[in-house]
Amino acid sequence: MTGILTIPTVTRRAWKVWHRNLLVFVRTWQVNFFPPFVEAFLYLTAIGLGIGTYVGAIDGIPYVNFIAPAILAIAVMNSAFFECTYGSYVRMYYQKSFDAMIATPLSIEDVIAGELLWGATRSVMYVAIMLPVLAAFGVISLPASLIAIPLAFLGGMMFAGIAMCFTAITPGIDTLNYPAFLFITPMTLFSGTFFPLTLLPAALQYFAIIVLPLTHLVAATRMCTLPAFSHSILLSLAWMLMVTMISCIIAINLMKRRLIV
């Protein structure tokens, strides 16, 4: 029995799983490309113009410009997280796709790695579609904001890994609602997204910085879109890199434990 932190052997065949998901995505591209456009637009109008009118500016930054990177970061989180929870669970449990794949030279490690890469790719696509909309509204600055795209890959891998850990231990598809409501929803609100972390009580601030992955993604993305870089971006990047590696490794080992008996 391998330990939970054993580094798994993943081969280049993982990209074949990624490719399979890409083909399905491209086939239904109308359904997939529309939401990012609409979402960016809705957020900007409702929160930016609506609430923004009252808020005005935060620390001298126009409110819409303040939330624009949060919209991107939340999109990164949601696309990877939901792809690797509900999406992966459906492919694993209902479609038995993983069983079919591991009857070929693909290993379970390859399959899960492919799913994680795909989750991160969804995040990158989402951000790549949203960026032009945000740029057109003039709420992010170019070219620094383009860094949000590779950042979306890192953040996507991170949330894909975390999501896959839940998928590996969930008894059924309904219980995936727990991480969605108890983890994703609170994080959407309390990670320095729509108001600065400094408004929270000190204890909660520390909690958000130490525990909540979205905090770091929002902070790093915001530094790119304003742009206003500081050394703390290195800390956020290091935090995300570490959590990404650990969560992806644990996810693969847990999945192996679930599927190889």
């Binding site: 399979r20 479609q95 796709s97 069983d99 079919a100 591991i102 030279p105 190889i260």
Partner: protein, 304 residues
């Protein structure tokens, strides 16, 4: 010639439950080899170990000369698998299912397209090439899974209950295709709990029960050895019982009928008919089912 699959003392435990309890068998190249037995006998678990899906708990296992735990990718590249459960990709058409699967085997694009078309014709689904998988009937799905298992030109084809739940036409088509594959030199290994399927297809088979192999051999030889030529079924009455005891013929009591197995069955049947005039008497050919029931007993299984 060394066997293409060989197991010695092969064992599989799930926690405290023993699914496969030290079995040994050898599959020869080019034959159709069957694993026959009731649900829960350990057939599927054995297939999962052969196809490198499930690691064994003890014993040795070689597939094409390789160890499933050492070289799973190399073994899987040369083995085709038809699982018990339908796991076609519902997001693709029939043809795209084959093309996607071919990609997992590193088969080049044009070659994959050629094989996909050939295989769709082989399983008589060429008319459905662009149909989505969920529009297929159960029999068509099984045929498409068979085609998918052949996409890598496997040396060994492994089928877990290939005709479960199929109507007679669909079953016969699958059987006929398997025989065609054997004629092309493919080694075929299958599990089934249909005795007639095993008798019809297999060159050799093992009968499994409770994780063990009860017996191994060619279907006809097994029937001959354990049962004989024929089985006589007679309605059970006191007169029939006393007749049989008088003639010193051994019999099995099945509740409302008695069964007599015999090599020269017709004479016994005639004698029985003349002497005790039973209301119902049937003489039929002995089958693998008789072998199985004799070896495994007739009591209903837990969970059956």
């Amino acid at each position: 010639m060394s066997p293409v699959i060989e197991a010695i003392g092969l064992k599989k435990n799930y926690g405290t439950m023993t699914a496969v309890n030290g079995i040994g068998f050898a599959v020869r190249e080019g034959e159709i080899f069957g694993f026959l037995g009731p649900n829960g006998a350990g057939k599927t678990t054995t297939m999962k170990m052969i196809t490198c899906i499930s690691p064994r708990s003890a014993g040795t296992l070689t597939v094409l000369g390789m160890d499933p735990e050492q070289d799973p990718a190399a073994i899987k590249a040369r083995v085709g698998v038809v699982p018990q459960e339908t796991n076609l990709d519902p997001d693709f058409t029939c043809r795209d299912n084959l093309l996607t699967y071919a990609r997992y085997f590193d088969i080049e694009k044009n070659e994959a397209a050629r094989r996909a078309d050939d295989l769709l014709a082989f399983v008589q689904l060429q008319d459905k090439r662009d149909a989505p998988v969920d529009k297929l009937s159960g029999g068509m799905k099984r045929r498409l899974i068979l085609a998918r298992a052949l996409v890598n030109n496997p040396k060994i084809l492994i089928l877990d209950e290939p005709t479960i739940g199929l109507d007679p036409h669909a079953r016969h088509l699958i059987w006929e295709r398997l025989k065609a594959l054997k004629a092309q030199g493919t080694t075929v290994v299958l599990t089934t709990h249909y005795m007639d399927e095993a008798a019809r297809l297999c060159d050799r088979l093992v009968i499994m029960d409770y994780g063990r192999i009860l017996v191994e051999g060619a279907p006809a030889a097994l029937v001959q050895e354990y049962i004989g030529e024929e089985v006589i079924e007679v309605e059970k009455t006191d007169a029939v019982i006393s007749c049989l005891k008088e003639m010193a013929v051994p019999f099995d009591d099945l509740g409302d009928t008695v069964e007599i197995t015999h090599t020269g069955g017709q004479d016994i049947g005639r004698m029985l008919y003349d002497r005790c005039r039973p209301r119902k008497i049937i003489t039929r050919l002995a089958t693998l089912e008789d072998v199985f029931l004799k070896l495994a007993g007739r009591e209903l299984r837990e969970g059956a």
